[in-house]
Symmetry: C2
Subunit: 317 residues, 2 copies
């Protein structure tokens, strides 16, 4: 298996990235296009086809045995369709069939982007060697995926691990998803910044009101900035504890922009986790920052292609 | 497989039930002892041994190929030990080894009682034919278990599906488990009754202040009783929606005393579920009352023994 290649696509609202990836997770060939997210569905698909064609022009293409797609969600892996929130031209779009046609008939595996990140962290990153893990991206939104019993658990539609939209505050603020008190509504970067601003925090001379700026202020001891991160940490802790209590994970890996805040996030998060993860079988739970960089989506899509192709836990996924 | 038998033990704080069960889930032979829950660990174990001996005296015992235990939790299936909250004499008690010795060396499978109920509902009850299900017991406490990808998901320690102790109200009341705003803290029978009493509901001449009495009052339109069930329904809905969002279940089965309240519970529950289960991949989620009766624990323990013995999804579990 380690001698041949798979192709990977990482499809988001900003860019469509493609790569050929070997059995060790090393990226051999890359291609990329901006996502024409505001255009009609066929225009978006043409950008995907251009990425595939550029990969297919590589002399290594002949060794490619499968293709994995990690896509912004929701996806429907059972139907082979995607409906990314930020790509309105694609609603129930038959991406798997279209990509299969563009590749001349390769087997295609589709998973959500949170699941793809998880596959990458489990294969090569902070969740490596863990039989049961939750991997999260905390940035503009909050996404995630699960490894259960040593294998990726995408769920029947490829969306499992969607921790950003579980409610940890049943009477809380309305979330754009329609529910209330979702983890994302409290812990995403924009919500960390909004809460700090509402409570009186003011940006520096550069006018930067991002969560990263709030994190910088928190590191310098600004109490309002600290409090906003503590609140995010409590919501993340309640969500992570709920996941552990439901499916027995032993590690939660946190990536994305907010995950990069470091101790400003992880110190109150570990403290809050002790408050919410109380049952004997979840007390050993640890949290760790993500280790994969911006290629996580591609590496995870490749892992899904390898696993799907063999029908077993290929590449440790 | 359908020609031979397994033995099953259902160990709770009140009784220790045992049975011989065939490959169709039919109970052939029964034995039972009260649980001497306040006594020392060896005294409790003697009651278990008496149940096993009574089963072993059956002429069918020679066809028994394995034994399954569903025990009040927490359990630790990986260590083979149990620490039931209501049996203080057992803390990290090596139940699997002791039962194996009492049976002369049969293979023994241990799962938590919520997982056992789930195995039973999936094999014979309301979750039959569902690939991904949450089964719950809502009574004095709130427990549960998961079926994922067509198979029971006990998790590494046998406690997965512990929905009673996920927080749906991160600033809520302290729960005896140490966390806050747990589903059980809001939706269990005693909490339904307490909330109704606190809000001014008064029992009838019989003085019955159980959740069943509150349910009877709610059926007659008492607004305080109705409101207490609605609050329980919201907490259950938030927890069920969280589970579906995390692992993609398509049915939640609810048993136990509170589950028997009927429309008083299920009508507001279905309404609240529409509020919390909002993402495309969880909208098809349904809730249904449990179908298995008081033998669910025994039948589920038998299912675990059948599945464990063959190493595959025996008996549909």
């Amino acid at each position: 298996m380690h001698n041949d290649l798979v192709a990977a696509l990482d499809i988001g609202g900003t860019k469509i990235a493609g790569a050929l990836v070997d059995g060790h997770g090393t990226i051999a060939v890359r291609a990329q296009r901006p996502t024409p997210a505001k255009e009609d569905g066929e225009t978006v698909m043409r950008a995907v086809e251009e990425v595939v064609q550029e990969l297919a022009a590589s002399p290594s293409w002949g060794r490619v045995s499968a293709l994995g797609i990690g896509s912004a969600g929701p996806v429907d892996a059972s139907a082979g369709t995607v409906s990314p929130v930020n790509v309105p031209g694609w609603r129930g779009y038959p991406l798997v069939r279209r990509v299969r046609e563009a590749t001349g008939g390769l087997p295609v595996e589709l998973i959500g982007d949170g699941v793809a990140i998880t596959a990458a962290e489990h294969w090569q990153g902070a969740a490596q060697g863990h039989e049961n893990a939750l991997c999260m991206v905390v940035s503009t939104g909050v996404g995630g995926g699960l490894v259960l019993g040593g294998r990726l658990h995408p769920g029947p539609t490829g969306n499992a691990g969607h921790i950003g939209h579980i409610s940890v505050d049943l009477d809380g603020d309305l979330c754009p998803c329609g529910s209330r008190g979702c983890v994302e509504r409290i812990a995403s970067g924009p919500n960390i910044a909004r809460r700090a601003l509402d409570a009186g925090w003011r940006p520096g001379p550069d006018g930067d009101t991002s969560a990263a700026a709030v994190a910088a202020a928190a590191r310098e001891g600004d109490p309002v900035a600290v409090a906003s991160f503590e609140r995010a940490a409590r919501a993340l802790a309640a969500g992570i504890a709920a996941t552990a209590t439901l499916v027995e994970i032993d590690i939660a890996v946190i990536g994305g922009g907010v995950g990069k805040a470091g101790d400003v996030l992880f110190t109150p998060l570990r403290k809050a986790l002790a408050d919410y993860a109380t049952l004997s079988f979840v007390r050993r739970l640890t949290v760790a920052p993500a280790r994969m960089g911006t290629d996580a989506g591609l590496v995870g899509a490749a892992a899904a292609a390898l696993a799907g192709r063999t029908g077993v836990a290929a590449a440790g996924v």
